[in-house]
Amino acid sequence: MIKYFARRLCEAVPVFLLIVTAVFFMVRFVPGGPFDRERPVAPETIEALNAYYGLDKPLYAQYFSFLKNLAHGELGPSYKYPGWSVNEILAEKAAVSLQLGAFALIIALAIGFSVGFAAAAFPKGKIGAALSGISLIGICLPAFVLGPILILIFSLKLKWFNAMGWNSLPTDAILPAFTLALFYAAWIARLVRSGVVEEKGRQYVRTAYAKGASGKRVYLVHIMRNALEPTISYLGPAAAGLLTGSFVVETIFQIPGLGRFFISSALDNDYTMIMGCVMLYAAFIIAFNLLSDLILAAVNPRIAKEMKK
């Protein structure tokens, strides 16, 4: 098992490097430089800035010095925010996104599992149809519609929450977390439901019931274990997505998280920041995929056995 994960981790390194390299060269094809401003900037100034940030060197030299810094864990200075390093900004913003994302993940799991199980409990009836219908709302309504609607109802009409911001009140996280969670909740509900429905029809479950096992036991031991596999695999990338924030939700609720940097850095040509965001995301995905594999192995001995190979 440990060997398996060591191997996976080793494999992740070239994956990571490949991603970094691809994006590094891709951002240079985007028109406009990081120092373009509306007001005229003298060519001397651009030269000086390029020299200062090492952008005057040939591309391959820039690439190698980037790798060298990366090896030291240095992502370099942000071009858009002089005086701030990418490490610093990402660390500060990651703290916010992790909190919000974790909260949203809990909500998504709670809603997703309850709706998914309930829908599976009534696979044919009206209740089941209604529940799966509800669970689809999250997939059908873009966050930029859902978010403002929630704000209008809960903060402008009912005055329960602030309409924007972070940290001024402990309740500030509730609306954005819900907005963020609903999309994921819908997917979780769908996966849980189809997993449970599928397992319930299997021969071994029927056998277990026939042998006189109690409903609860069959449910917990047999159905859960197998039905949750697709959900757990989905949760890897889902958690990575949630924890790295969302541009839409952060913009609408004015939250100082990571999500906005993913988009704004690309729109601003902030090369170092783009690289930082991409690497952070890739690292999250790789880590969470590993984590979900670990959980899968813990839940299901068959998978653990495969990993030992």
Binding site: L136, I137, I139, C277, Y281
Partner: protein
Amino acid sequence: MTAYSQNDSAFARIRARLFADKLALACFFFLAATALLCFCAPLIAPYPYDAQNLELGASAPSLAHWLGTDMMGRDILSRILYGGRISFAVGFLATGVAVLIGVSYGMASGMAGGRTDAVMMRIVDIIYSLPFTIFVILLMLAFGRSIWLIFVAIGAVEWLTMARIVRASTLDIKSRQFVEAATALGQSRAGIMIKHILPNCAGAILVCATLTMPSVMLLEAFLSFLGLGVQAPLPSWGSLVKDGAEYMEDAAWLLISPALVFSATLYALNRVGEAISEEHD
């Protein structure tokens, strides 16, 4: 997993499942009708999508404008019809690109097997860990903004799941007797792929494509939110919903009708996809 046999085609199975589920069937007809109406937009739309009437401005639904007008006095119904053309086109073409890449990649990987297969699947894993939104945005920024590029970019992003599913089916089918028989009879690899494996994967591909389409359409809406969608004044559902969302308090009709059509379409696609993928006893 779908069961395979020579005499019971995957499509027949899917049709049977669809007809068994009344709601999904209704969704299917809704989709067909909507898509048809939208593609006929130039014939049936009451107004051109960009005809303005600044004096009229934003007006509530009326006899002349069934779904009202936006602030430039443009007819919302016409814009929804034309926007549907774009959104469906985005959906179909991006999904088509995804299917094309995903199916050929997944099948090639599954057929090759062994080491090649392992390497090819690792590559899919790598691309999975790219942040797609940055990727799509960089593509759009780097290569200018044409609507065709949006299709290709989105398709290029959405093929991964398809490739995985097709590969799994290919591996499964490859080991079956009729394929082995065909191999023994000396059929070429390509022939086997097209004649035997493709038809047997069709079900899985169709399900996956049906579920890819709504996510593609949502992605287009997200790009519209960023202002990176189709070039104005051409509408898409995403951009209509986005523009409508700005008016949700004061001219709700600008949001309600596009959002209803958009959400209903996404819902229907999801519902149909779920229905045809469902395992019933």
